[in-house]
Symmetry: C3
């Protein structure tokens, strides 16, 4: 089976769960949970496809809908066992952005856009679903918090283009770049990495 | 005259009024009111048309603009007579989602998408304008409140596909499915129906 | 060099700076600042191009990305010198909407849409980036504040169509209409102009 499709469905699952968790935290009703799961999962990819004028994947391939429905259902059923919700949310969110960044870069390349635009597409694919989720749920978007987030996506995107110069197979380029996004974000949180502050001299409000 | 066009313009009117009412509640200025009315009225249909890669109806048919302008003007002129604003808002919002759900399903079918995708398109057409309206006005989107809302859209969408199996004419399928959306939401509010809660065992924050 | 391209890049610069300033006010990290600058700068034009089904300019012409990056960098480096941030923000925001209104109108005309739709496209091009910026940063969108804002865009759009009837060259039509948007908004703020209130008789909440 196609590795890209598997990766895409994994990312969809991760985002759907992260959407369902935020929706449950906000105590939305059953359908609200499914809708937020759906929007979180397909939002970034839909924006990417609209910008690329590509066919929108979830509209022709029903696997996405089933996977999202199943993921949301699992999140609801095992909500008490997900325990440390914040930690799970972080984990699934990070897996999602890793996968979607790489997919976005790859799809941009397939449509022959310049590398830097592909990286921008990757970051957007990865972050837009989560931004919508947070806007709808009245949270400040997770992506703009202190943690290194876009930097992780950027790192993965650049890795992708570096590895394209090597004899590595496409699948390995995909896997390694995704892992780079995941690791940067994980390490950033564990070791409290942050970008150099720009606010030392900035007038305090 | 084409029933679909009439239904579309009716839904547009209902959404424009609901947008103008929320904008007035937030005390926006004259143009703010018109803009929110416009965004609420065309937002869902525009998303639907972008996803379908269909021509965007309000850009070629000026009837939509006139109808939205007139509806917003009426809402402004008769604001003191609209009296129980909350109740009117609810009524117009419900008419709007009933009409847009059915139109979304129908347009999806015309583009030969699978039934479940058509229902998803219907729900999006119906809810997206209102979600934008509420996001801009800093309200928690009405659609994610406790009331049965998406369920009503879903019920109408499913009714649509059931009725397609009967010898009913297309117009009647349209009317009955729209009425189902309207009735489910109306009865849900009157009798305080709600979806089964998923929060009994959920750790309280 | 093409005047339109210069105008477009100037508007992009103005919006990118306004985005970076709001992001710094919200104390986002380095990449958050760049992303908000980017979204503010390209949001309105992207919406316009999606609606027109036109190629999305920043995806094929890398000048936009460089200009946005440079503008954000300048805003960060000279943040302490920008001094009265609110005033600068207002200035850059107003330049941006003036330029984008005129560009939106012009592009709509090039795609042969009716004049009123072109004006609507101009207002959307001008305001959508700022609306996204404000939504993401949890501010009430600047466009819906008391100041005359959409009215300025509308005034510029109408001026554009009036001047098209005169023997003025296209470039002068562009410049004068943009100046009209800028002046209306500037004068409105200086002299505290506001639209006639619709709230005298409106039930207070």
């Amino acid at each position: 089976m196609d590795l890209i499709l598997i990766v895409d469905l994994l990312g969809t699952t991760a985002f759907a769960i992260s959407g369902a968790l935020v929706a449950m935290k906000k105590r939305l009703d059953l359908f609200g949970i499914f809708i937020i799961a759906f929007v979180t999962a397909v939002g970034g990819g839909t924006l990417r496809d609209i910008l690329l004028k590509a066919p929108i994947t979830w509209m022709r391939d029903l696997n996405y809908l089933w996977v999202i429905g199943l993921a949301a259902l699992m999140a609801i059923l095992f909500r008490s066992k997900l325990g440390y919700v914040r930690r799970s949310l972080f984990l699934f969110d990070t897996i999602g952005i890793a996968l979607y960044t790489v997919l976005g870069v790859q799809k941009g390349l397939a449509y022959e856009y310049p590398p830097i635009i592909c990286v921008a597409l990757g970051v957007m694919s990865a972050s837009f679903g989560g931004v919508i989720r947070d806007l709808i749920c009245n949270e400040i978007p997770l992506i703009f918090h202190k943690e290194i987030y876009a930097t992780a996506c950027l790192g993965g995107g650049l890795t992708y283009f570096l590895l394209l110069q090597t004899p590595l197979s496409d699948n390995w380029v995909l896997i390694v770049s995704g892992a780079v996004v995941f690791l940067i974000r994980l390490l950033a949180v564990i070791f409290h990495w942050s970008l150099p502050s720009v606010y030392r001299k900035f007038p305090n409000r």
